[in-house]
Symmetry: D2
Subunit: 307 residues, 4 copies
């Protein structure tokens, strides 16, 4: 296992990750283009060395700060010309990995809230290379619970007034998120789900705090304030105490299998059938878990019938 | 409104309700048959007086202790012969009301965990009289939440080891449930849902305690112990603080409308499309809320298209 | 360590413990007297073999059902005459152990809600033998929290209306408490503390359920309903997730030390300075933790000054 | 009642309060000195009009942002010279009210986390004028609970690793605290208490969010991560749901009485006997509630004996 590990890139990771990474030995790529070529070549070598038909790239690196898109990111033509530029401002690291996957003809999954494939230019390139992809941000804990509770309030016409969530966690993920800029990416994917499901304009708040003593555990407390018949205000609260890596691992394995299968079946572009796994599924209207589950099951049956 | 209220029966209510009821003026029916005839006649008079096409009877009386069925309750022929017997042992009050509804050609809904229509003989009679019915036990709070959370654990293959619920409430319902015999009925409909959804043999416990200071509020605490990847144990807990009558009222109104519509459309016997509203839906395989919701929506669309 | 372990007695343990104990090899004592003599002699041998000045006996066996006292238990004279009787009805096992401690001149601590030394006849005998003792029931978790929160409500004149506690645990202690008779002892020591501290007549409930998946963990949920200015009702709830043996172990060590020191200083009878450690401290008026702590600290200072 | 209300000052209130205040009619004081003289004269008129012996001023206005002290605030001599300056930068409004109280010979209590009397120059002036004072920040809810739970962990040598608190509230206080600058003052008094009581270097976090649907209710969730024997990590969490004004009102009344009594008894300067009421009691070493209670009771007994 250890022999297959290759070094990533520090291009476009931002100051927090750079500070945390053990700097020694990580190659200094001169441009985004150079980084993409090096990483893509690592993937191809891996595929050949193990005589594999397919590789799936799953991005599980630390969250990056939000990356503002410009005109450069609107078409592959423009982005392609900018990639050889010196310096690190063209693309965040997550998008460099996404392009390394695409250029090596590998299916790609973004398990984080970082940008990854989520720019028109990169999606265009993925379609050109006939590669399937999906994201963003694995739905492992608090947001998973939101995605079943929020539809319950909606189905019963209980009007959600406010939904406040406090997350505390102690692992490297938590350490990276203690940087307010990085946290902003994560809060965005965690926070928007409730309003999308229940509609209206509920007050929603999501906080994330780094609490080292928790190690790999995440504790989340959510408070839901809602209104029933005759404008009576009621409340529900839950506390989730989960082990993040343990919750993520089987999803990553499932995503590898489903992406490989989709790729074999000729899927190109985003894979809405995998919305079930994500906090903020790309190009998907369905945010409630049961609807996402039904879509995944339906797709699996078709795939199985074809096999 | 007040002028339309008629007195019920004390036949078959059990000692707790008898003690709580203000005894003065409630007619002493000499047999189950006599009570059914009196109540049925009250319903018919109400329908005529208000020139109604239909009446729907919704049972929301206090919970009764579990009522053991015997050979007498297996066919209408046998039960019909037993009804004129003196004394109160033939049927619980909830079933007397169910038969009063059936004999007056009214649709019937059991919003409680009491027996109601739920005996082969009574269901047979309802089909003879071409009357639709449904139950048991309105799903307003803690069990509602269970019916969306339990499928989440199942969809994610998170193995539910234990699910413990503690309910405290302060209204008349709570006072009646402080009798351990009555509580047994309620605990049965509240407890079985988790194992039915997640499968396996989780440890499940449901407690109910009467806490007068809460008035019409119900507070429920649920603790879920579950196992993920590599047998890692994790937990989730929630506290629900709801106002029971406020949560029940709109469901009762919806049930009246849906039952009336079903009756008009010629429905006879149990109405599985209304499973969404019940803790323990009669003759239904689906216990998860999203599945029940999908069934209700599908049925409504057909009914609307026909209209 | 293992070489110092001696077998206990099955006399007076009740059916649950008897069923759980691996029966093979446990001596069948013919009477309470015989059991006391055998166990007392084991303690004396232990003291001599290790050339010890003192031994402290700390009772941490499984909880027993409540044991009703009769005239026999009101004076040592009467009890002493009853001890040689055949059969197991004279004393529960915990009291046999207490008398074994007393007869071997050992200080005695009851870390459980079982009877132990808590009968006039046994206390009389302890004073005759000039032995100090204390109990009942180590205060490790939920009740510990109650003993600081209840005084807070009292100090602020916030009127406690109701206090409901639900305890779930998975170890042998939990298994024994799944017997309702045994549970009754435990609930008594856990439940009375609130009313004793806050006064008035709050509704208090304590439930205990055996949930095997929790292993040695105990989870307790407490809900406090209270009333402030202008009769406004408010609430507080807490969840305690503790590892019972880990919480008990240091208390047992402290109790051994404090009891040994008290014995050396010539203490006879109950030791109110150790109330800090117990759910239901014998012969003590103070139930709030800070008051108990102040008493322990004051006593320790005197003991230290004398040394 | 309404006839006794006089307008306050906008001098030194900061932009959030200024925006929220209905600006019309509030006098524009030309300097801190002018505001102090106007307000002090209002207090004196009130005392004369009602023929009172004493007035106690209790500051319950909205929280201000932290105010940095400079050399000017270190002695009354220097501050006195700066007061006539034009503009609003010399003192925050809370300190203007404190000086108005002092100059009118009134006892003063700061029920908020704002600066108030808490500057060497102002305290010096209070002692010159022989006026008693106390603060800061009334301890009504979450911090009250902390002040009894934290000592419990300390008494039992359970090592507090982390203590995280999330507060949500919906009233004007919450609206003002939604300004991050104002929030900083409040978080300081709420956060420091745990480390002061348990010692060591626990990770502590306090968040405050404005959730309008809660109206005057405050909900606080606290998570305590602690370590017992053999470095076993355990946790406790609580949710407090209280009505802030209802909790504060009786404390304000008690503070008025105790301050009046202290003043009568010739108290000058800070009143440590009133630490019981404050999150961050001035010049006090004792932060645990039981210790503060004992001090208040002891003082009351002396005062009563003297009367």
């Amino acid at each position: 296992m250890q022999r297959n590990v290759r070094l990533g890139t520090l291009t476009g990771v931002g100051p927090t990750i750079r500070r945390l990474s053990d700097d020694r030995g990580i190659p200094r790529d001169t441009s985004a283009r150079a980084a993409i070529e090096r990483l893509s070549s690592d993937i191809v070598s891996f595929r050949r060395r193990h005589r594999l038909d397919q590789v799936v790239v799953i991005h599980t690196a630390s969250s990056e700060p939000p990356f503002p898109l410009s005109a450069t990111h609107q078409s592959w033509n423009k982005l392609d010309k900018a990639l050889p530029r010196r310096g690190t401002g063209v693309l965040p690291a997550s998008s460099i990995y996404a392009l390394a996957a695409i250029e090596s003809d590998s299916g790609y999954v973004n398990f984080t809230p970082s940008l990854g494939v989520h720019a028109p230019a990169i999606e265009e390139r993925a379609r050109q290379r006939r590669v399937p992809y999906m994201g963003c941000d694995g739905k492992t804990g608090e947001t998973l619970v939101k995605s079943v509770l929020a539809p319950m309030f909606a189905m019963r016409h209980l009007n959600v007034l406010s939904w406040v969530g406090q997350n505390i966690l102690g692992n490297r993920d938590g350490e990276v998120l203690s940087d307010p800029k990085t946290r902003a990416s994560k809060i965005k994917t965690k926070d928007r789900i409730v309003a999308r499901i229940v509609g209206g304009a509920p007050t929603t708040r999501v906080s994330i705090d780094y609490v080292p003593s928790l190690d790999d555990w995440k504790v989340a407390w959510d408070f839901v304030h809602f209104e029933g018949f005759l404008e009576t205000k009621m409340s529900m609260q839950f506390t989730w105490a989960g082990c993040d890596s343990i919750l993520a691992a089987p999803l990553v394995i499932d995503l590898a299998r489903f992406t490989a299968l989709s790729h074999q079946r000729g899927a190109i572009g985003s894979m809405p059938q995998l919305a079930f796994f994500f906090k903020d599924p790309m190009h998907c209207g369905t945010h409630d878990l049961p609807g996402q589950w039904a879509a995944l099951v339906a797709w699996s049956k078709i795939a199985k019938a074809d096999a």
